[in-house]
Amino acid sequence: MTAPRLELRDLSKRFGSVIVADGLSLTVPPNQALGIVGPNGAGKSTLFAMISGELNPDRGTVLLDGVDVTRHRADVRAAHGIGRTFQIPRPFEGMTVFENVLVYATAAAGLRKAEAYRLAAATLERCGLGDVANRPAGALGLLNRKRLEVARALGSNPQLLLLDEVAGGLTDPEVALLVDLVNGLKAEGLTVVWIEHVVHALLASVDRLACLAGGRLVADGDPDDVLKDPSVRDLYLGHAGVLEEDLQ
């Protein structure tokens, strides 16, 4: 039996009176696309920080591919192949898109010249950035900035991709293109965990949806079912006429 790509056991973390994780347990099998929704300040980004290793939980275990990495530093965990996007992308504005991706490939994957070039070129293609490869990163429109941020996360050729609210600010057709990108990565075998407020983006790409609130999973399962769950409506979506808009 293959180990799950990611497993969280009884994870707990609080900052003073703010509880971001409360005995949280979660298993993500390889090649699954899991969407996570939840109120602001519920601890979603903090969860990612605990998975990638920037933050240590107060209690509980983090396992990657069946290996307990709870006490490992972020760079050690990265060797297991995790890539993570950040809510506020900070590319190297003066460098071209290709140069940015090359830096990520060299730094994250520790590759040297020829291999780094090949990986960077491949990542560019995967992310649909071929057309803008030679433009300065600072001149990109919003969609391409998001694509570049995903390219950064793919820098080390990871098996687990953590997306943190990448669809924010995009128009509907741009969201569709971003969803295409994520679906493409899923088809290549990546495991994806996607935190998002733009619910219709998740509905177009994930197999499974979970709602995180108060540090706990208040719902977890089929995306349509989860959106109809009354506690999810109370805490996150709101009521009356919501579902139709969000499902469009």
Binding site: F15, G16, V18, V37, G38, P39, N40, G41, A42, Q87, L140, G141, L142, L143, N144, E165, G168, G169, L170, T171, D172, P173, E174, L177, H197, V199, L235, Y236, L237, G238, V242, E245, D246, Q248
Partner: protein, 237 residues
């Protein structure tokens, strides 16, 4: 009565003309939404109306006063308050202190700490909490409260729903009623077109800095809105 009148303004970003010939009139009690694709100039427009960036030609009038040559900190005294993109609360200040900065140039009117706390009932308990500890939706509410504390005639909101949970967006839109009932008018930027059409009295669609379409949602044809939004090409740069 017209609270905000913008008359054929041009706004430049260096040599690039970001806004061309934009005009709109917002009356007392009205809610007007500006929509448009990324890069259409919506944020640039808001910042120009607030006075953070200068207008290269045209006129901005608040309550009949010409404010075109006034800088941002002077426009507050004339009744323009902006809730900036990304909320931009002051991180070293507490929730209440953030609200109080909004009253730095207070004008007469109904909004003060008590009335803001009435509208957002969860705030009093957290008043002494540092604003960095607030969630995105909470910060948005405080940013709106901060703008209201100056008792503006026209409230500008840039990218209202960005990064916020759906329920929070609904709550904020629900508060609009209470805001305009006191005589204020609202001009807001919204990424979500269906939300804008559902909430606003009037919608203006920008593309590459120009108005492509404007009107009451009930009078607008969805396919017209779509072609105004995208122009000749479909989205995605």
């Amino acid at each position: 009565m017209t609270l905000l009148r913008i008359d054929a303004i041009d706004v430049h970003h260096g040599l690039l003309r970001a806004i061309t010939g934009f005009s709109v009139a917002v009356d007392e009690g009205e809610v007007v939404s500006v929509i448009g694709a990324n890069g259409a100039g919506k944020s640039t427009l808001m910042r120009a109306v607030a006075g953070s960036i200068p207008v290269s030609s045209g006129r901005v009038e608040v309550n009949g006063d010409d404010v075109t040559r006034l800088r941002a900190h002077q426009r507050i005294a004339r009744g323009v308050a902006l809730v900036p993109e990304g909320r931009k609360l002051f991180p070293s200040l507490t929730l209440e202190e953030n609200l109080l900065t909004g009253a730095y140039r207070r004008r007469p009117g109904p909004w003060d700490l008590d009335t803001v706390y009435d509208m957002f009932g969860w705030m009093p308990d957290r008043r002494n909490q540092n604003s960095r500890l607030l969630s995105g939706g909470e910060q948005q509410a405080v940013a709106i409260g901060r703008a209201l504390m100056s008792n503006p005639d026209i409230l500008l909101i840039d990218e209202l729903s960005l990064g916020l949970a759906p329920i929070v967006v609904k709550q904020i839109y629900a508060s609009f009623q209470q805001i305009v009932v006191n005589g204020c008018a609202i001009l807001f930027v919204e990424q979500d077109v269906s939300q804008a059409l559902a909430i606003a009295d009037e919608v203006v669609c920008l593309l590459e800095g120009r108005t492509m379409l404007a009107g009451r949602p009930a009078d607008l044809d969805p396919s017209d809105v779509e072609s105004a939004y995208f122009g000749a090409t479909t989205g995605g740069h």
